[in-house]
């Protein structure tokens, strides 16, 4: 983490070295949503990883929250140009969730309650780069921010951090998810401004 500057607001252009090109700092937490906010009772929540051979690994809420969890502070960058620095989360690393999953797939499709999808290379999920997060700022993750749990891949634009995530489907080939099929970039690196198809 770099230095977190405080006391600025609005769309004022900042020059923090932690701010990718074309982004502005915000200190609130904007809510973007492509549909109604699903309310998922914890006794109906589950997270599954389905491999390319059809093998399925599933955790219910109690099993998921019993896994070793990380508390971590990261910067997040939305493709709509706001960035929020120094956000604090708690969640289970994808390294932990994938530990017993046998897969040679290079890509994964994240799936969410409500039907949202987004595609991610597997190497961007591993080595401490991604989590399934269930607390923000020390509190249970609010539904409007993706609770009970959301994917968190902070080094990619935030549309890759699927709210209300309920699983990963491993894929040998890359396929577009919800926004990628509608013109957004297949990868979404904020430092290269990979916003749209062809960027």
């Amino acid at each position: 983490m770099g230095i977190i500057s405080r006391g600025f607001g609005g769309r004022r252009r900042e020059s923090s070295p932690d701010l990718p090109p074309g982004q502005y700092l915000t200190h609130d937490f904007p809510v973007l949503s492509a549909g109604p906010t699903p309310r998922i009772p914890l006794d109906r929540w589950q997270f599954s990883i389905i491999t390319e051979t059809g093998e399925k690994h599933t955790w219910n809420w109690d099993e998921f929250t019993a896994l070793p969890a990380d508390e971590f502070t990261v910067d997040i960058h939305c493709v709509t140009k706001w960035s929020k620095l120094g956000t604090t989360w708690k969640g289970v690393s994808l390294d932990t969730l994938m530990a017993d999953v046998e897969s040679a797939a290079d890509y994964a499709m994240a799936h969410s309650f409500g039907g949202y999808t987004t595609n991610v290379p597997v190497e961007d999920l591993l080595d401490g780069k991604a989590w399934v997060a269930y607390e923000f700022d020390g509190e249970p993750l609010h539904p409007e921010h993706g609770g009970p749990a959301r994917l968190l891949i902070p080094h990619l634009y935030f549309w890759k951090s699927a709210k209300w995530v309920n699983g990963l489907r491993m894929m040998p080939e890359d396929e577009p998810g919800f926004w990628e099929a509608a013109g957004y970039h297949m990868y979404g690196d904020p430092w290269s401004e990979q916003r749209y198809h062809g960027d």
Binding site: L32, S33, A34, G35, P36, T80, G115, W159, G183, Y196
Partner: protein, 86 residues
Amino acid sequence: MELDGNALAGDLREVFAGDLTAAVFTCAGCGHAGAVATLRVFQPAPGLVGRCPSCEDVVLRLVRTPDRVFLCLSGATRLELSLDGE
């Protein structure tokens, strides 16, 4: 006879030149048919998302960039437009 897509020019101009909110979509999810104006649209989001008022499935997605617009109609099996302008 086989032609290329240029043969569609006149008909597509008729479809895409006017106000499409009166066009009738058919939802690929549930088969519901209704005017585009009756879609449920949620914002803010990285693009415009029109959902079926009957089943909430996504009927259309529209993404604007500084120099392009993407229209994804994979959630609609059909668009029906009146040609009499009414």
